[in-house]
Symmetry: C2
């Protein structure tokens, strides 16, 4: 049987540049599907488009409104294809109403000088040495990820005592395990809990407004990661008047930055 991620991102052609899909209960969030699965569906449409050229470099998804459980349509349209880059316009609609509008840039990568600059967090025990974070009482999508937080950290506390920071470090991979590819990475980039939960140690109504994911690896690097855990970090810079930012990194098992992601999150008191 297909992996739940493949079921949730399956789309069938309707017309040029248009596909149909159906939300899956496995990836349900509080209201509608987990935002990461929406990102994965949109990127998948471009990846399997007959005019696709190259691998994803960037994906930006703006969450325009709730996605209802059930059928949706996806449009993926190449706006402009250059010698080394391709620009995409993407949209997820229900009954003609935009639920998510998105864009992607694909590119042909070529070997050049390169260098890491950020380092992965030091001192993380191996995933096997850490407990899997519990998913009881959480939305269904949380059970689609195996998360193992740094010692002394947790997904987020619930005692309402505000912390001085919202940083988290964890190992994360699909559950059940699945070999890494761009579709899975696009969803993983949104698997970090909203920083306002972490900072305030309590749950509140939130919604991601916009998410940009940058892919720093080609398909071969993702394949080399296989189904091992990725090392993730997330933090915020500022919470103000109902909106906070959030930046995340996802590292390979051997310390290469595979993706970084940035978002703005709406929150209520």
């Amino acid at each position: 049987m297909d992996h739940p991620l493949d079921q949730a991102t399956r789309i069938t052609p309707m017309a040029d540049h248009r596909w149909q899909g159906t939300t899956q209960a496995a990836y349900a969030n509080m209201v509608g599907p987990f935002g990461g699965i929406t990102c994965a569906v949109l990127l998948h449409a471009a990846l399997q488009h007959p005019q696709r050229a190259g691998d994803p470099i960037a994906l930006t998804v703006n969450f325009a409104g709730p996605v209802a459980d059930g059928a949706f349509e996806v449009e993926a349209r190449p706006l402009r294809t250059n010698r080394s880059t391709q620009h995409w316009s993407l949209m997820l609609t229900q009954d003609g109403v935009p639920c998510a509008s998105a864009s992607a840039v694909f590119a042909q990568r070529r070997p050049t000088w390169g260098a890491p600059e950020s380092r992965p967090p030091a001192g993380m025990p191996a995933p096997d040495a850490l407990p899997m974070a519990p998913s009881e009482g959480r939305p269904a999508w949380v059970r689609c990820y195996d998360m193992r937080f740094a010692p002394g950290e947790e997904a987020f506390g619930l005692d309402g005592h505000e912390q001085a920071h919202s940083e988290s470090r964890l190992w994360v991979r699909d559950a059940p395990p699945r070999p890494l590819d761009f579709v899975a990475l696009a969803a993983l980039a949104d698997s970090f809990f909203p920083r306002v939960f972490v900072r305030r140690r309590r749950v509140a109504p939130i919604g991601t407004i916009t998410l940009s994911t940058y892919f720093h690896a080609d398909a071969a690097m993702l394949a080399a990661q296989g189904d091992r855990h990725l090392l993730g970090t997330a933090r915020a810079q500022v919470f103000r008047d109902g909106y906070h930012d959030q930046s995340a990194t996802l590292w390979s098992h051997d310390g290469h930055l595979l993706a970084s992601a940035h978002q703005m999150v709406y929150y209520r008191d």
Copy 2:
């Protein structure tokens, strides 16, 4: 006479959701206009649209191809307007060809619990105590900004000796000075030199592929900043196979984060 930024972002209506503008020599880059002015033009179209609701929270611009000197058209179309957010589709074309496709999210901000998390860089001397960075030999747009780098730092060296990092700290404002608003801030968010120049201490062919700017302040906070220098930081996380990321922050004179920006940059050896 109008400020050069206002001249370069001036657009005149053509039809519903469509305007015309003209590139200005003051903001010329190596090829075509400075990317920041393209961001400013696109945001300006949404800001002065009769259906606008709220202030900008996020702007993503994908640079699909070069903009030629001369006339351009801008389309700004509200995709969906909710109770507190408004989603925009934006495009800059020349002769019907997409040069930049973009999206923006506007929102009505409401007072909530808030907190800073990142801190502005410590130990920066006042702008008046630092020399203005020279602009000789640089593209015209550099003269549109008054940049004052941290002591011992410089825009970027030219000796080709690779540095261990690409971080920069500087004071920056429009030149001549201009009161801060969202249009100016959208351009300032792209005023940081490409990190590959800083890291490698040499100039090479580059191009921003995509840029997302997050606005953390409302119009009143921007007005309170006036025409004073903003404190900026920029850094990269990884350079690999022709693409590097870049993250920047822009702080008010009194230490509030006004905007953060993230981009992917194409580079050649």
